[in-house]
């Protein structure tokens, strides 16, 4: 990894800038010389995308799956992960866990 990229990553971590973390770790994966190093960086990009609910989740996961580093997401989980946060909260109601 080049020094500029490394510095940019540190700054993104410092700022908790998830969009930058996703972008920079993806970039590091793209620049990596071997598949293990690439998957290491892809994993980080994927986790930060997952945390942020970012649109890159599906593509990053697909790349990991293609290298056998993650399992294909089953339908229910895909729906769960991709569901946008739009539903309004009800004023009250019941649910027993």
């Amino acid at each position: 990894m080049n020094e500029a990229l490394h510095e940019a990553m540190l700054a993104a971590h410092e700022d908790h800038d998830s969009a930058a973390l996703i972008r920079l770790y993806t970039q590091a994966a793209d620049l990596a010389n071997d598949v293990d190093a690439a998957c290491f960086f892809l994993t980080h990009a994927y986790v930060f995308a997952l945390e942020a609910g970012a649109p890159e989740v599906a593509a990053l996961r697909a790349r990991l799956v293609s290298h056998g580093r993650e399992v294909p997401v089953h339908e229910e989980a895909a729906r769960m992960l991709n569901q946008s946060i739009t539903r309004p909260a009800s004023a009250s109601g019941g649910k027993t866990g």
Binding site: D36, V47, R69, L81, S90, G93, T96, G97
Partner: protein
């Protein structure tokens, strides 16, 4: 500290012969720990209100009797309560209130969970860049969910996991207030406040559920809500409280009123009720507003009262709402010297738990009797397990 043994035989006698709970139940750390299991973990206890997490993704870490919990509203809009720990190394997952935009990421090794508690990512678990391992079955490693139920916007939790279903445990009070089974709208930021009180949580219950003290401690109520207008409410082993036959609606300067709960019925035109639902939730209902108080026991002699006011409609007059909040805050603050005074009084070692007015104190005795019964059952189970 005692050996967790107190004589409760006097407490379970009829109200005209009973003594109140012994001092140790208010000041002894060992008894507090016993009550944590017997009275709070094993029941449906109040934790928070659903209005604390109004939007999907809202998450709040809480500590209930020392147990770290995570309250959140999942992406489908359901309120959930989890133990606030990662299934990997037991790390605290969420340290401060936040919006979960995607997944909950553990800050230690970045295991990720959905807002429904499913484990969705285990980075590097099989080695660098290897994110799965056959020994780590995600389906079995979701967040540890606590049984929860929302009723009257209160989030009730059963930490032991073995209480009867909420609807069964609370069937009596749900039926009693069936007419108030309407949508409730939290009044918002100006309709919530907390009071930190140097008292054992049970004294706050005891003071709330009787009307005997009203003319002395709340003289402002005398003008319209006289002692003789009140009645006792008792449902042994479930709840107790008091009601009034002369509730009068708050009116603004220009005669504004809060909207009534729809079709609540003529019975409630001037009637209001205040019930302590055991163990730690205090509720009040009126034709035009309601309140919920959740008692958070923070130690033998410290309790935080979380107070929330509710209305029948989403939009209410801000001035009238502020006046109502101020009125209730004044009332609840007037009670502080009493519960703190009784708490300090529990260090008088000759005190025998006190004697009750058979007429006026029966709701308090009802609570004491429940406490004693639960503790005796808990002790019997413990002995049987030994």
């Amino acid at each position: 500290m005692t050996n967790n043994i107190t004589d409760l035989s006097q407490v379970r006698r009829s109200v005209d012969q009973a003594n109140g709970l012994p001092n140790a139940h208010y000041i002894d750390a060992g008894i507090f720990d016993e009550e944590r299991h017997a009275l709070l973990y094993g029941q449906w206890a109040g934790l928070a209100v659903a209005a604390d997490v109004p939007e999907p993704g809202d998450a709040i870490p809480l500590s209930f009797l020392g147990m770290p919990l995570l309250l959140l509203r999942d992406k489908a809009g359901d309120v959930r309560v989890f133990q606030n720990i990662c299934r990997h190394r037991g790390m605290i997952l969420v340290e401060e209130p936040k919006k979960i935009r995607g997944a909950i990421r553990c800050p230690y090794h970045s295991w990720c969970y959905s807002t429904k508690g499913d484990l969705v990512s285990t980075p590097h678990v099989g080695g660098p860049g290897q994110n799965t391992h056959e020994a780590v079955e995600r389906d079995e490693l979701g967040l540890l969910e606590v049984r929860s139920h929302v009723w009257r916007d209160v989030i009730w939790v059963n930490l032991s996991g073995d209480a009867p279903a909420f609807e069964d445990a609370m069937a009596d009070v749900i039926a009693r207030w069936a007419e108030f089974d309407k949508p409730l709208y939290h009044g918002g930021a100006d309709s919530r406040f907390t009071l930190e009180v140097n008292t054992n949580w049970k004294l706050a219950v005891e003071n709330f559920c009787e009307s005997y003290h009203l003319p002395w401690v709340h003289p402002g109520l005398n003008s319209y809500s006289r002692l003789e207008d009140h009645y006792n409410i008792e449902s042994p082993d479930r709840y107790s409280g008091q009601g009034t036959m002369v509730y009068r609606q708050l009116k603004g300067e220009n005669g504004e009123l809060f909207t009534d709960f729809e079709d609540v019925g003529e019975k409630w035109n001037e009637q209001a009720e205040y019930i302590a639902i055991y163990p730690n939730v205090l509720l009040g209902v009126h034709r035009d507003h309601a309140f919920a108080i959740i008692l958070e026991p923070q130690g033998t002699e410290k309790t935080v009262e979380h107070i929330h006011l509710y209305y029948a409609t989403q939009d209410t007059d801000a001035d009238l709402r502020a006046t109502n909040t101020k009125m209730w805050k004044t009332v609840f603050e007037e009670d502080i010297f009493v519960v703190e005074g009784m708490q300090r009084g529990r260090h008088a070692d000759l005190f025998d738990g006190g004697r009750f007015s058979p007429v006026m104190d029966s709701p308090t005795h009802c609570f004491h009797s429940w406490v004693a019964g639960q503790i005796e059952t808990h002790r019997a189970k413990k002995r049987a397990a030994e």
